[in-house]
């Protein structure tokens, strides 16, 4: 059975992963969630290398939530790499970072981010954002063809 296109969380902070997962579940998002806990792992998953070679088991995500502060490769490096890959350049990538600095925001858009969201401090606010993601990216937006 072909796996459903998951949502890929690129997030090194296990707490954030916990809250994201919890919020996704609370807000009724039933899509599978894959987690890459650093830049290298993200690139491995998206490139289909190593243990992620099997695309049926590890299909391309329909949405990437990308943190910027990551070990090995930063989120911006991962984003730049994604846009250089022929197979990934149309992949919807939403930056999900604690930084609200203009420099980061501008860099992210320059490198081809589809959206930039700032991680909220408030759990309720996180729920609101996740709900917005569901409504917009998962239910409203028409995504590109993923191969």
């Amino acid at each position: 059975m072909a796996h459903e296109h998951p949502i890929l969380l690129v997030e090194d902070n296990s707490d954030d992963v916990f809250f994201l997962r919890r919020a996704l579940k609370t807000k009724g998002i039933n899509a599978p969630v894959e987690v890459a806990s650093d830049g290298r792992a993200a690139m491995a998953y998206l490139g289909g290398s190593g243990k992620f070679a099997d695309r049926t088991k590890h299909p391309l995500p329909r949405l990437v939530l990308l943190d910027l502060q990551l070990p090995y490769f930063t989120g911006l490096q991962v984003l730049g790499w994604i846009r250089e890959q022929a197979a990934l350049k149309r992949l919807p990538v939403v930056i999900f970072s604690s930084s609200s600095q203009a420099r980061d925001i501008d860099s992210a858009y320059a490198l081809g981010a589809n959206s930039y969201l700032v991680k909220p401090t408030d759990v309720a606010e996180l729920g609101r954002i996740i709900e917005a993601i569901r409504i917009y990216w998962l239910e409203t937006n028409h995504g590109p063809t993923l191969t």
Binding site: D15, F18, F19, Q101, K119, L126
Partner: protein, 695 residues
Amino acid sequence: MVRKDKQRRDLPRRTLVNTPPYAPISSAPVEDARGGIFCVGSALGSHTPAEHLASLIPVGIFACDAAGHITFFNRRAVELWGREPSIGKDDGSFCGAMRVWRLDGSVMGRMDTPPMQSILTGKRFRDQELIIERPDGSRLACSMSVEPQSDSTGAVAGVIAVIQDITERKRAEELLTRQADLLSQTHDAIFAWQWNGTIVFWNRGAERLYGYSATEALGRKTFELLKMEAPRDFDQLRYRLSRDGQCMEEMVQLARDGRRVTVESRLVLSRSFDAQPVVLETNRDISDRKRAEEDLREHARTLEAVNRDNANLYRAVQKELAEHKAAEEAVRQREAEFRLLAESLPLMVWITAPAGELVYVNSRWAEFTGCDLAATRGSGWSAALHPDDRERATSAWQKSVTEGVLFEAEYRLLRAADQEYVWHIARAIPVRDDAGAIVKWFGTSTDIDAQKRAEERLERAVKERTAKLRETVGELEAFSYSVSHDLRAPLRAMYGYSVALMEDAAERLSANEREYLARISRGAQRLDRLINDVLTYSRLARTDVRFDPVDLDRVLHEILLQYPSLQADRAEVRVCSPLGKVLGHEALVVQSVSNLMINAAKFVRPGERPVVTIWSEPRDERLRLWVQDNGIGISPHNLGRIFGMFQRLNPDSAYEGTGIGLSIVKKAVERMNGEVGVESEEGVGSKFWLELKRL
């Protein structure tokens, strides 16, 4: 009836007088054959010694009985009366006289006359002055003394009166008074003093001149009272007076008020009635004249000084002329001095012809470059310059020579001794003749190597430090970024887990446990805000402030959209548009205004709906934006620290906050060269304001 004097003088011995005690006179006086004999009844015909005496006395004597009838009189009395009274009977006379007047000119009644008064009252009279009118109408001023005579029972039996002619005395007195009046009226100061100086007379003029009244002056010593300054020798003055009887003197005296008075004095020595010497001093104030004289003398002295100055000037000019003759010699001397100076100066000195060819270099140039004048002329001075500076220096020199303007250039010169290049600054000025044509260039080159190298070092140091500073700023930014990320992540986790736990296990937890969880989340949230505010504040200090027009109405609009606490369901916000435009950094303006508004909406009494009013007003060059609330207000003693860092005026439990909000406002506004302030009344509300440059 008047007797002829000749006859009377012949009859002195026949004049009778009563001998006391008074005996009543029984017979009338009888005129004898030689005429003019006055007699008294009982003594008629006999010449007693008393009668002789009475006829000799040069005063009139008469006696009256108790009825006022004359009982006795002597020859002198007849002379005075101008008539002879009847003895012992009323002959209609007033005690012998035809009529009697008082001195004031009124008629004296018979009963008022001293003898009648004495008979009536028993009083005695001494020197009573009255006027007797004779039968021929002439009048005499007389003085009358009356002595009452008593009988054995003590009653007044009669009087004896003495009558004296005082007409001469009166006249003399009147004259004196008139003279004294005259003296007093004169403008000159007139006074008289006895030989020892005691003042005995002092007229009005003296009162005016010296300021002492007559009462004050009389009895004082003239030289003491007037503190005579000149002449000093009083005895000398008296000697001259006694020798010459009079003298004239210029005197300097002091008036009562300290005023110095110069008088022209006339002194006359005379004798008083008692033969004592008296000096009459008549003084005319000549102080004004003296002052005028002194002014004249001063003027003369000034003139003299001017003349002296002119003489000096003349001598100075003479001297100058003499010096001028020496000037040519001095020019030659100066030339030599110049060379000596030029050679001894620690800098290079050179002179060129108008077109720029060297005509003189000092020995320092030769020592430094190793080229003397001849060698420098041969190779050209620019040969000693650093190759990099040569082009620049020579073209600058050419430009100066062509245009005749000041030459200035910095270049490195090769030092012959160690072949090192040393920085110099060269300056040259054109020297012109009277017609303005350049006759030569006078130049110097000064060693500025030390300064130049110091400048270079400084520049290098500035560059290095700037780079280091940039690095530090970069590090700081990285630090604050990592603070915001690394510190806030665990806080968010704490908060998130406590919320998750509350959501998942609330029904299994006791009220206490739920309260603990709530406290954990509140603590985390608070710390998060604190970090956020500290970062904002520290970022303010580093932000490059750009000044652009900022539309306050748009800023308000954005803020109202953004902040939940300012929404209509939680607060009433009244904006008095248009607010206008200011010059500032938009992000900082938004930050400041939003902080003030959130503050305004926050500090209300529990349960009260916040009302925030915003308006603006121009103040000189600036625009003041007011943010008013209906909150709890600030007590006066807290107003001063309200904008300080971490200043929280209320307990944590009452109002959430970090105590940085207003510090951020102050910092942000100050970075935009503005000002913030507050007016507040406790319990009524606060009015915060910020001022920025108006557009």
